[in-house]
Symmetry: C2
Subunit: 321 residues, 2 copies
C-alpha cells in the first residue's frame, strides 16, 4: 500500500490498518498524507478525505458553503504536507431529499456546498475536476485531491538532531468546537479559524525548498501526529510544551491536543534557525515556531517547562459523540 | 468544468448540473465519464463514484466483499468508457459502529469491503493507492479511480452515419435487483451479474483502437445513456430494440431500461462491420452487437421491429425507493 489512510483509534482500527497494509504492493508508505504515483521525473500526489455530517460538521453550525470549504481544505491540507502543488479536486456529495434543509431544495444545498469547495480549490490554484451526487439521509462530502510534486516530503525522513517546527498557532479549531458544542457562538476570529481553515500549500512547498526532511499535517492533534512522524521516521520526538504557539486564549495543553488544525509539523535540519523562520514568515505570511527536536529512540516525549508530562490525548472529532 | 458528474433525474438536479458547469474552467467536458488532466502527451483520466447503503446496495443482499467489489467496478467502468488503462483507486469508507453487522467488528467489515475493492482493482491491473475510514450510521463506499490514456474517447465525437454498438448482454442487473426486491434469491448467473460486474477495460481500449468516436458506459440504462451520447455529440441516436442483446430470460424493453449494467455503448465508423465485431469478440471474450446508428438531428428514436416506441425509462436505483 502506497497509501494515505486516516484511521480512528481503537483496536479494531489498528487491526484494519494491518489488513490494509497487506492489500497493497508495499507497506512502506502506509499512513502517509498522500499516495504517490511516479510520472516521469515527477510524482502525482493523491489523497481522499471523507467528511460526514454529525462527525466532522453539523448543518446548524456551518453554512453549506462553509461545509464545502472546510471539507475541501481538509483534503488539500494533505497535499500541503506532501509539498505538492494542487491540480484539482473531485467531490462526491450525499445530500438529503426535500424533507430537510430549511426549505431549500437539494439542488440549492448541493450547489452551495460545491461553491465552498470551489472557493477552497481556487484559493490554492486548483479546479473542480468532477464529482458525483447521490441522495442520502445525511450530508456526505468526500474530496479527492490531486497534485504534483518533484520532491515529495514524507513522514519518514526525520533524523536525530533535526529541529521540530510548526506553522501557525494551535488550539483554535478545538476551542471553537467546544463553544459550538455548548451551544455558544464563538467570536469571529475563532469561528473563522474553525469554518475556514487555510491549507498550508505555499508554506509546505517552501518548507520542502528549505530542506524539510519529514512533514505531516495536524489533523489528529499535535502530540498524536508527532507520534505518527516519530514512528514513520524511527526517531524519538521531543516537544517542549511551553514553546507551542497557541491560538489567542487557548492554553498549551489544549493546543497540543487540538485536532483538525491543518497546520504543518516539519522536521528541519539543525542548521535551520530562528532567523530562517523569520524569512519564512515574511515570504509566506505564516508563523513558524520551533517546538522541539528529534532524537534517537522512539515515541513522543512532552515536557512542560522541563518536566515530563503525558502527551496530550488525540482528537476524536466531536467530544460528546 | 472538465468533469464527470453523474446526476439523478429531476428539476433540482438539472439546475445543479448548470451550476456545476459554471464552477469549472470550461463547460465542454461536463458530464463525461472521466475528467481529463493533460500530462505531456498523455491524459490522466479521473472519476469518482459514490455508492451508498440503501441506494446502491443492501447488506442483506450482498456480502461486504461483494459490496466493495461492485462499488469499485462501477467506478472503474468510467475508465473503461474513456478507453483508459487503470492506475489505481482511492477509497473512502463509512462503516457503522459495533451496534450493526451480525456480530462482526467494524474492522472485519471494513477489511472485507476493502478486499472486494482490491479484487476488482487487481482484475484490471490497478492497485489500491489509499483511503479514508470514518464511522458512520450507514455504509458508504466512495471510489476515486485514476487511469492513463493517450487517446481518450469522449461522449461528444459521434457523427451521423456511425454505427451504434453495445458490449455484452443487457438486463441482468435489473432482473437480479427485481428478484432481490421481491425477497427472492436470483439464480447463480443472474446474481453474479449483479454482484460481480466486470469493468470493460480491455474492451474499451480495443474499441478506441478500432476507431470508436464516442463511448459511454451504461449506468442509467441504454436509452438514457444513448440520450447523453446524442446530446453531447449533437446527433440523433436510432436504436432498433429487436437488435438489443438481452441477458437470458429478460425481455428487450426491460433490457433497454436496465441501469448499472456497466457495458459500453460505442459509436463506430460505418466501415466497422459484423466481421470486425467477431474479431473483437475473439480478442476480448466480450460480445459486441450493432443495435442502431447515429443520424442528423437530436434525441433518441427507439423502434421495435420498425415501429416507433417511447424510449424505455431510465434507472433510479431501487425500484421501491
Amino acid at each position: 500500500m502506497s497509501a494515505n489512510l486516516r484511521l480512528g483509534g481503537g483496536g479494531e482500527f489498528d487491526r484494519l490498518r494491518r489488513i490494509f497494509a497487506r492489500l497493497g504492493r508495499t507497506g512502506r508508505d502506509l499512513g502517509d498524507d498522500c499516495a504517490l504515483v511516479r510520472v516521469g521525473r515527477a510524482w502525482l500526489a493523491v489523497s481522499i478525505d471523507l467528511s460526514l455530517e454529525g462527525v466532522h460538521f453539523r448543518t446548524d453550525w456551518l453554512s453549506f458553503a462553509d461545509i464545502g470549504r472546510r471539507s475541501a481544505a481538509a483534503a488539500l491540507s494533505d497535499l500541503a504536507a506532501e509539498a505538492a502543488a494542487p491540480i484539482g479536486v473531485l467531490v462526491s456529495l450525499g445530500v438529503p431529499g426535500k424533507g430537510r434543509g430549511r426549505g431549500k431544495g437539494e439542488g440549492d444545498r448541493a450547489a452551495e456546498i460545491m461553491a465552498g469547495v470551489a472557493a477552497a480549490a481556487r484559493s490554492v490554484g486548483a479546479s473542480v475536476l468532477g464529482g458525483d451526487l447521490v441522495r442520502s439521509e445525511r450530508y456526505i462530502v468526500d474530496v479527492c485531491v490531486l497534485g504534483w510534486t518533484t520532491h515529495p516530503v514524507r513522514r519518514d525522513g526525520a533524523r536525530p538532531g533535526d529541529g521540530l517546527w510548526v506553522t501557525g498557532a494551535l488550539g483554535g479549531a478545538q476551542a471553537a468546537l467546544r463553544s459550538l458544542t455548548r451551544g455558544q457562538r464563538p467570536g469571529p476570529a475563532l469561528f473563522r479559524r474553525f469554518a475556514h481553515p487555510e491549507p498550508r500549500i505555499a508554506a509546505g512547498r517552501r518548507l520542502a525548498d528549505l530542506g524539510a526532511r519529514a512533514m505531516i499535517d495536524i489533523s489528529d492533534g499535535l502530540a498524536a501526529d508527532a507520534a505518527h512522524l516519530a514512528a514513520a521516521s524511527g526517531v524519538r520526538v521531543e516537544i517542549a510544551l511551553e514553546q507551542v504557539p497557541c491560538f489567542r486564549g487557548v492554553d498549551r495543553h489544549r493546543a497540543a491536543a487540538s485536532g483538525e488544525e491543518f497546520e504543518l509539523l516539519a522536521a528541519l535540519p539543525s542548521r535551520f534557525r530562528e532567523r530562517d523562520a523569520q524569512t519564512f514568515r515574511r515570504a509566506t505570511g505564516v508563523p513558524l515556531t520551533r517546538i522541539g527536536r528529534c532524537a534517537r529512540g522512539s515515541g513522543v516525549r512532552v515536557t512542560d517547562s522541563g518536566r515530563s508530562i503525558a502527551p496530550p490525548a488525540g482528537y476524536n472529532h466531536f467530544p460528546a459523540r
